[in-house]
Symmetry: C2
Subunit: 141 residues, 2 copies
């Protein structure tokens, strides 16, 4: 059986090599966000022999193909999230780390207004929302 991620990688025209299959497998098994270091640790734990450089290289490719997105956490560190190719934003639960995606929900009006006020021509934006997911909200009141 082939994971959806592996299929997307193939469709994106990224050469399917042994190490890449292995790393894709590790990503598919992950829930929520992960760092490059997480994958390296996973690989070592499961006796999957993959070089650190290879992990970084594959992540770069996946980001370029928008199969994975890079998220800047509030503490300044970086994480990756496997995601849909369409434009969307992330909600990060600061309590358990789970990430939800929302597609456009009115941000265009905001960017247009900001452009009008400043004279900028806006090409891209990044919106990240931080808070607590439904479960954590319930657990801790």
């Amino acid at each position: 059986m082939q994971s959806a991620l592996l299929r997307s990688i193939d469709q994106a025209g990224i050469r399917l090599t042994g190490p890449r299959r292995a790393v894709a497998g590790l990503i598919a098994k992950r829930d929520g966000h992960f760092t490059a270091a997480d994958l390296v640790v996973d690989a070592r734990r499961r006796r999957v022999e993959v070089g650190r450089a290879t992990v970084f290289r594959l992540l770069d490719l996946l980001v370029a193909e928008r199969l994975v997105e890079r998220v800047d956490l509030p503490d300044g560190s970086h994480a990756y999230v496997p995601c849909e190719a369409s434009h969307h934003h992330h909600l990060v639960c600061t309590s358990c780390g789970v990430i939800a995606e929302v597609d456009d929900c009115g941000i265009d009006a905001v960017t247009t207004e900001a452009a009008r006020r400043t004279g900028f021509k806006i090409d891209a934006h990044r919106l990240e929302l931080f808070g607590r997911c439904g479960d954590c909200k319930r657990k801790r009141g």
Copy 2:
């Protein structure tokens, strides 16, 4: 004469020492965003003797007091921008690096909608806009 930043530092209750005055001076002379490394280089160039650790420590304090804000650039690196203490967002010119600030312009509607769809309770958000400022737009068509 005392810079506005220096005055704000004093008002924030941050002890005013020689090295801090020097670094504040360097920040005040900067236009747009800068990195901690930029300040270290500036200091060396002007023969201001300030340790690297001191620069990082002061930046941390300024961020905590919201006199300076940390921005995540699209390439994943970090920069700092001196700014107003009130909540606002940054527009980064990807061509010349200048940064404009806009205060709230309708983002609340977006966060409310995202919260409704996902069940999250949203505590914080980060919005960064990237594009070209008026000048660069004109220069390059």
